[in-house]
Amino acid sequence: MAVPRIVRRLGVSRPTVTACLVRFERVGVAGLLDRPRPGRPRKLTPALEGRIALVASARPRDLGVPRADWSLSRLREYLLRTGMLPALSLESLRTALRRGGLSLKAARTGMARKGTTTMIPAAFEYHTPTSIGEAAALLAKLGDDAKVLAGGQSLIPMMKLRLATPRHLIDISRISGLAYIRESGGVLAIGALARESDLEESDVIRARYPILLDASKVIADPLVRNLATVCGNLAHGDPANDHPAAMLALGAELVAAGSKGERRIPAASFFTGPFSTALKPGEILTEIRIPTPPPRSGGAYVKLERKVGDFATAAVAVQVTVGANGTCERVGIGLTNVGPTPIKAKKAEGFLQGKRPDEAAIKQAAVLAAEESQPTSDLRGPVEYKRDLVRVLTARALVKALERAGK
């Protein structure tokens, strides 16, 4: 089922559906479960029917059920066993499938899982503008049907699973002069086509922006990093992506270009929801602008992942500047994958501001950051674990950042 149809059917926002599908793809059915709620079992709400449709559209084997096809009773058993539904008669399951336009036969060969052709994205038209102006004009003309293609390392995997089915792709990678990373006039500017691997190889980054080097190194794997762009990492709006938190900590500004001109958006107001950003339809993220840290500044990004290439169970970005008197002049703290968006830990930042960052202060700031996190339970762990992890990682990131600031 295409996302727009799911959106219409469930009456929820597009980002919610996309987030749901992506979580499903990443962590399986557990990703779809809301936190358990007390009270009586509910009737089949549209959301529950949506879950049924999603499971029915998946291949049983992909969900750990050793069968080639679903039968009605197998499907019911699965939904109950995984706790996706509180109670369900075969009859209401049949009704739900029918209402979702799914017969079991159709369910087996659902859109996202068509036999061995899961790798083939839906057809699209390919555009290769040679300037930002041309790209913005195309986006404005084609509207909702079009998407920007940068490194493709988030978009193409989603297209292969048919979680994204854009009619037009506007490949910005043929626009020359966008792959820069340069520092001048007190600003570090990162262009739309700078790849993660460029960041890793940049001397400027190595010398003065260790927080970005830390983050880059733990994003995906070296092969993905050879294509993935830093701007794409932000524009994708995935709360699990690693650079957003670093940009929050650094106080970055993002430059958006549309057919009507350019505007600047502070990172702190860029991430508006899961898979949604402040970019307006038709806008392209052309540059990241980061104020050059003054002397006695340091930053760090600390991430816990289950294996290389995994999204963070939780991660924390810290950027500090220590004044001549040894107190914190500026503190930025960003949290990854512990909420619907990357989170700026404002209370923790405010607490440290103007204070001497001794052991007790670090401890207290870490507790505040943990309180500000909004994790949900999934295969990476329960809420309590993740929240405590934020506490531990915040303290570690602070210590490392302060060390680098040469406190």
Binding site: E125, Q153, L169, L223, V308
Partner: protein
Amino acid sequence: MHVRVAINGEKHEAEVEPRLLLVHLIRDVLRLTGTHIGCDTTHCGACTVLLDGRPVKSCTVFAVQADGREITTVEGLEQDGKLHPIQEGFMQEHGLQCGYCTPGMLMTGYAFLQKNPNPTEEQIRLAISGNLCRCTGYVNIVKAVQHAAARLAGRAS
């Protein structure tokens, strides 16, 4: 759409749908089947090829994106009937079991040694971290890359 690519130094042209993945161009259109497909979620690295010299997952690039660029596949490693030292390394050190991940490992290892001819074990492990071996033969894969590094540096090993 029309695409022109140079694969292993040889020019190829093809008429393709924009949605055709680079790996399918390589395997199905150009019949170079040394490049493997091991997953449909961009995780395994079996499909690794060099795009303008950098190792990338060819299952996550559209063929049209490679238009006008240079590609190297595993078939391009051997020169004049002689295996490349990285291939020798995998043979000598038993760097493969079923061989499924091997083309990807070879391409990643090859590109890595060009950039970093004298690597530590840890650097090798990080470099191949986007290539999964389901036979889990990582110890010998690391040895194979070390073997190749030594050979390329003119050291016997």
